[in-house]
Subunit: 364 residues, 2 copies
């Protein structure tokens, strides 16, 4: 409405408004896998995966690694109040290193930062990293953790370097397992079971045609992603009927909890060619995807941290697409959050999954 | 001169000027150990230490840990261009955790971040950390690394978790060994041998009476600390004839190198009661101590990172002392840099120590 009023004030303003409308209209669909691995060169590995024996108990903590062997320009947005991180300082645009080789998401609270040690050794063995002379490399492996220790097992059960090594060795392109795997194994979200989710978006019109944006997220939030009726806050961002439930977006305002041991951590990847500063901007914008999907988010006990990896295999100058990529990243991340909660089909020792609470919404 | 002119412009300005002079005059001496362990509750451990067998080769890389079992309010200044860090995000004043239990300085480039894993396990075994319920703790252990791999041994020789565990188990109050120990073992500085140094300052007048500031630093800088005559840039900051050499401060302007594999990392500790935001401010001011002692500093290939630990055992409100503490921290850090270079009495496989180059200045 206000835009209409402004645009009618003069012919030139109307012309500008029309131009704006044109520039922001773009078609989008999920990629073929609806996963971060729709971005060429991006590989994902989890450790552990659920046992093939259905009578085995589910994993209770774990590690997920997102790998770009060719290196991807990195950025980060760290806005949650209780972070556990490593190698985020080097991502500031003024610092030397441009590209990251992997990002590690892990359970285990700050102890789980050890998982990145194993990822570094895995990548070094493959010659993947920042070259430092003599044929040697230092893999650039930022990491963030979430709090899950002691929930369904001893406090000492948590990821170490061996988890990172195994996740890295398992990393591949192709479909990405979701739910209670890897970093999502021990996750909870606003009193329900949390988990690991992924999504992707392919842009198909105008200057953005061919841009791919993927997200992967371990949702372990103090805030909720759905209301008392089982409607998701991010339901309105669904693409191509990807969510099996029928129903409107959530509108209930649920009282915030004061949980202090949480954290949602994510990676956004794109094939766009971004500078390091642009990758940081995309990370900032992507973080709004958490705001739309989780209420509240970025709280005192959440260490919410979003990494960006821009592979640049689409070699066009993306300077005029940063807003489009950032906005798409936010929506893709919101959808990945919904996927995470929907894929958590089995609760843990104390909380129920979404599908246990609303089986009619998961009946598809 | 300019101050004099300003102060003579009016009587009230003169009064203010006099007040300023009074407020900045304070007496200071090194503490009894002239080491960061002069701050009560601060313990230091190195791994490795030189062998007692003088025919053994010196250590070529290592880890130094600064421990505050009771917890110290933390801050950080990360201004070098090629950092390798962990747990720096949580130090931002708006984030939840107030106190750190240890800071780890380590060689090994980013691989050396693994040393902090061992420090966490060491502290957990002692029940030291952020309480997370059920009697469990998560030790808060920020860390930074310097680049030394491959200099005098295979590239794969670098600190891992066992180095951190050993350094933490060795941590004590009392005298601190300097030179080519712990994180300073493999250090180089502007074409000479670098090393590990410490210093302390006790303030003895006015409102600051009883404030203690200590610093410890691993100097692995691309820039130089002394000129072609062997005079130190920070020579003018000497207290109580602590530097054995006789001579003026350096005034030569030495051309900067383009070394890219360096980094100087440090911890400043104080017994003052600082808020987290004040600790961050002290870290910023302390960083100027590198600027005065090393030329150039904070370069592209330096990951220069300064941590602050404020134990608060002096329980007075320190709000009006932040400038004094920050300034003292800078000077104490500068002096620790000189101590590091002077204590590096043996060069490594390719560079000479200061005392090998200027034996007459080390004859004391």
């Amino acid at each position: 409405m206000s835009r209409d009023r402004r645009s009618s004030s003069s012919a030139s303003a109307a012309a500008i408004f029309t131009l704006l409308i044109v520039s922001v209209s773009w078609a989008q669909t999920p990629g073929p896998l609806n996963a971060i691995t729709d971005v060429p060169g991006i590989e994902v590995g989890h450790f552990p995966l659920p046992s093939s024996d259905p009578t085995s108990p589910p994993p209770i903590t774990g590690t997920t690694v997102v790998v770009s062997k060719a290196g991807a320009v990195g950025g980060v947005s760290q806005r949650g109040g209780a972070p556990g991180t490593r190698e985020t300082d080097l991502l500031r645009p003024e610092n030397l290193v441009e590209k990251v080789n992997a990002v590690v998401l892990s359970g285990g609270s700050a102890y789980g930062l050890a998982a990145a040690d194993g990822v570094m050794l895995c990548l070094e063995a493959q010659g993947v990293g920042f070259p430092v002379g003599g044929g040697h490399v230092v893999p650039i492996v930022p990491s963030a953790i979430l709090f899950d220790p002691g929930r369904c097992a001893a406090f000492s059960v948590r990821p170490n370097a061996s988890f990172g090594l195994a996740a890295c060795q398992a990393a591949t392109g192709g479909p990405v397992q979701q739910g209670n795997v890897g970093a999502g194994a021990g996750a909870r979200s606003g009193g329900s079971k949390g988990g690991l989710g992924t999504a992707s978006t392919v842009l198909t019109t105008g200057a953005s045609n061919g841009i791919i944006v993927g997200a992967i997220v371990a949702v372990n939030s103090s805030g909720r992603t759905f209301d008392a009726q089982g409607n998701f806050y991010a339901g309105f961002l669904e693409l191509d009927n990807e969510f099996p439930l029928i129903g409107p977006s959530a509108t209930d305002v649920v009282p915030p909890s004061n949980l202090l041991q949480n954290t949602t951590i994510a990676v956004v990847a794109t094939n766009a060619k971004l500078t390091k500063a642009q990758a940081a901007k995309v990370a900032q914008m992507a973080d709004d995807g958490l705001a739309r999907a989780i209420k509240p988010s970025h709280g005192v006990g959440d260490g919410d941290t979003i990494f960006v990896m821009a592979t640049g295999t689409d070699t066009r100058d993306a300077t005029n697409l940063v807003n489009t990529i950032g906005s798409t990243a936010a929506d893709t991340l919101s959808r990945a959050v919904v996927h995470a909660i929907l894929a958590a089909t089995v609760g843990d020792c104390r909380v129920k999954s979404y599908c246990e609470q609303f089986p009619q919404n998961c009946a598809k």
